[in-house]
C-alpha cells in the first residue's frame, strides 16, 4: 500500500521545511533517514578505506562497498560484476564514449536525439572532431517521443551506436528501449542508455531490455551525491579501456611501464572511491525496492494526470508535454520569461527549474529555448499540486516584477 504521508515522514528535508513545495526532483532528490543513517554509521563506526585493509573495520567497509553491487544488481536485474561505480553519470557516459573510441572509426555513425542532456552529447561531439565519426539525430515528435519508423530509416551498416536517454530530462518522454534494442542488435549496433531520469522512477530490467550499457546517478534516486553507476554487459565491460588509471584498478605494474589491470568492474574505479556514497546508494536502492518501483511509477502518473487536469483550464500557459506519463511537466507562461516565473514561484516557496535544462539543442524541436520544469516524485502530494496551480495562475508580468520591488 503506497502511503505518501508515511513516506514524507521518512524525509528530514520535508520534516524540516514543511512550507517548501519541492518540484525540482529532476535536478536532485531528498534523502530518507535510512540513507543518511547508513552514511553516518560508516563515518561514526567503521571509517576506513576499501580494497586494502587487513583489519576488521576495513573489511567491514569493503564488504559494505561491494555489497552495493549485489543490491543494485537486484534492482536492475544484472550480475553484481556488471556494476562499476564512478563519480556521477556524466563520468559514466564519458567512460563509455572513451571505451568506444577504441572501436569506432571515421564515418561510423552514432545516433542520438536532440533532447539528450549535455553529458550524452558533448563527449560524442568531441569524438566526432577527433575521429571523424558522424552524429545523426533520431527524429522525435513535439513531446520528445522517438519516432520509431524514422529511426528504422536511419539504420544502415555505418551505424555502430545508438545512445539515448530512457527518459528526457525536459519533457519526461519515455523511449521504447526494448523495441530499440531489438532493432539495434539485429543490426549489430551497440545501445547506450542514459537512465538518469528513469532510475528510481520506473522499474528497470536491463536483461529484459537487453541494453549494452546503462548508467545513472545515485543522487536522483534518493541516494547521496557523487556516485554514478555504470552497468555494462560483462563481456563488453571486460573489453573496455578505463578512462582513469591509478590506484585500486591495477593488479600490478613494473618499472618497464607494463601494467596489468584488474578485471571489470574494479578496473573502472581508480582512486579511493566515494565509499560513503556507495554505502548510502545501497540503502536508497533498498528503500525504493521496499516501496516498489511500479508503485512509485503509478503514483507519479497519478500526480501528472491530476496536475494536467488542473492546468488545462489555465489559458495563460503553454504545456509542452501534456501526454507523457512521468512526473515531469514543462511549460511557459505566455509573455513571461521562464526564469522570472521561477523566481516568482520561489517567492511562494515553490522550487522549480527554469532555463534550457542542459538540453540546449531541444529548442529546435519544441520551439522555445527556455521553459519552466516542474518534476515530481514519490513524496509530492495533490495538496502541493493545488497550491502550485494556484500560484501558476498568478504569474504575469506584474506579479513577476513585484518580486523584485
Amino acid at each position: 500500500m503506497f502511503d505518501v504521508n508515511k513516506i514524507r515522514n521518512d524525509f528530514p528535508m520535508i520534516r524540516n521545511n514543511p512550507e517548501l513545495i519541492y518540484f525540482d526532483n529532476g535536478a536532485t532528490t531528498f534523502k530518507p533517514d535510512y540513507v543518511i543513517e547508513g552514511i553516518n554509521d560508516f563515518y561514526n563506526n567503521y571509517t576506513s578505506n576499501v580494497e586494502r585493509g587487513d583489519y576488521d573495520i576495513a573489511i567491514k567497509a569493503d564488504k559494505a562497498y561491494h555489497n552495493t553491487r549485489n543490491i543494485i544488481s537486484k534492482m536492475i536485474n544484472c550480475q553484481a560484476k556488471e556494476i562499476a561505480f564512478m563519480s556521477n553519470i556524466t563520468a559514466c557516459l564519458n567512460q563509455i564514449v572513451y571505451g568506444l573510441s577504441y572501436e569506432l572509426k571515421e564515418n561510423d555513425v552514432v545516433l542520438l536525439t536532440q533532447e539528450e542532456h549535455a553529458s550524452n552529447l558533448l563527449p560524442w561531439f568531441r569524438l566526432a572532431k577527433q575521429k571523424g565519426i558522424i552524429i545523426k539525430y533520431i527524429p522525435i515528435d513535439i513531446q520528445g517521443n522517438i519516432i520509431f519508423d524514422e529511426l528504422v530509416k536511419l539504420i544502415d551498416s555505418n551505424v555502430k551506436v545508438i545512445s539515448i536517454a530512457y527518459m528526457s530530462n525536459v519533457l519526461g518522454s519515455i523511449a521504447p528501449i526494448k523495441k530499440i534494442s531489438e532493432l539495434a542488435h539485429k543490426n549489430d549496433i551497440r545501445l547506450v542508455v542514459d537512465a538518469a531520469q528513469a532510475i528510481g522512477h520506473i522499474k528497470l530490467d536491463v536483461k529484459d531490455l537487453d541494453v549494452d550499457y546503462l548508467c545513472f546517478s545515485s543522487h536522483k534516486m534518493l541516494g547521496p551525491d557523487g556516485v554514478g553507476v555504470l552497468y555494462g554487459k560483462y563481456d563488453l565491460l571486460s573489453n573496455m579501456q578505463p578512462m582513469l588509471l591509478g590506484g585500486g584498478m591495477n593488479a600490478r605494474f613494473d618499472n618497464e611501464g607494463n601494467i596489468i589491470l584488474k578485471d571489470a568492474p574494479e578496473r573502472f574505479e581508480a582512486g579511493t572511491p566515494n565509499i560513503e556514497g556507495v554505502i548510502g546508494l545501497a540503502r536508497a536502492s533498498e528503500y525504493l525496492m521496499d516501496i516498489g518501483l511500479d508503485n512509485i511509477h503509478n503514483y507519479e502518473i497519478e500526480l501528472k494526470k491530476y496536475l494536467m487536469s488542473k492546468l488545462k483550464d489555465i489559458n495563460t500557459i503553454e504545456i509542452y508535454n501534456p501526454d507523457n506519463l512521468s512526473g515531469i511537466v514543462s511549460f511557459n507562461v505566455k509573455d513571461v520569461f521562464a526564469q522570472d516565473a521561477a523566481t516568482y514561484l520561489s517567492s511562494k516557496n515553490i522550487a522549480v527549474r527554469s532555463g534550457n535544462h542542459c538540453a540546449k539543442i531541444l529548442h529546435n524541436v519544441i520551439g522555445t529555448d527556455q521553459s519552466i520544469r516542474a518534476s515530481m516524485y514519490l513524496y509530492n502530494t495533490k495538496e502541493e499540486i493545488d497550491k502550485f496551480v494556484a500560484e501558476v495562475k498568478n504569474i504575469n508580468l506584474d506579479s513577476v516584477i513585484s518580486v523584485f520591488l
Binding site: T343, S346, S347, D398, S402, F404, L405
Partner: protein, 151 residues
C-alpha cells in the same frame, strides 16, 4: 510625495520596470565600426546580450544593446544606457560603482542613479543579481578596453 519616496511605491516601480522591459531604450544593434561591442552570456541562466559603445573624445556618445534577456536584465540594461550616454568615462565609471554598491546592499549615492534606484531591492533575490548586472558588467568591460587602448 517626494522624489525619494517614489522608489518605495510598488505600483510606480512596477510600471517603470515594465516600461523599460516592454519598450527598452537604446535597443537594437547598429552596424558601425565606431562602436566597440561585447557579447555577454550568463553561464547560469539564459540571458545572452550584446552591448555596443561609441565613445568620442572621452564622452559616451551612444550605447546600444540587444539579445535574449529576462525582465530584470533588459530593464537594468535599458536604464544603464539612459544614465551613461552623454557622460565622460570617469563619470560613467563612478555611476557604475555606485550602482554595484546598491546591488550589493551597501551605502550608495541615491541621487546619482536616478531611475536605476528601481533595483535597490534586487539583492533580496540573490539568484538574480547576475540579471541586474549583466549589462552593467558589459559596459564596464567596454570602458576598460577603451581606456587600455584595446577598444
Amino acid at each position: 510625495m517626494n522624489y525619494k519616496d517614489i522608489f518605495d511605491d510598488q505600483n510606480m516601480m512596477r510600471e517603470l520596470l515594465l516600461d523599460h522591459y516592454q519598450n527598452p531604450h537604446n535597443h537594437g544593434l547598429v552596424d558601425n565600426n565606431r562602436y566597440t561591442s561585447k557579447h555577454m552570456a550568463s553561464a547560469s541562466c539564459i540571458d545572452d546580450i550584446t552591448i555596443q559603445l561609441d565613445v568620442d573624445n572621452d564622452i559616451i556618445k551612444d550605447i546600444r544593446f540587444d539579445g535574449v534577456a529576462c525582465t530584470i536584465s533588459t530593464a537594468s540594461t535599458s536604464m544603464m544606457s539612459d544614465l551613461l550616454i552623454g557622460k565622460n568615462l570617469n563619470e560613467a565609471k563612478h555611476i557604475i560603482d555606485e550602482y554595484m554598491k546598491m546591488i550589493n546592499n551597501e551605502e550608495y549615492d541615491f541621487d546619482l542613479l536616478e531611475e536605476a534606484n528601481a533595483f535597490k531591492n534586487v539583492y533580496k533575490q540573490a539568484n538574480r543579481i547576475k540579471c541586474a548586472t549583466i549589462g552593467w558588467d558589459g559596459i564596464s568591460e567596454l570602458i576598460n578596453e577603451k581606456e587600455n587602448g584595446n577598444g
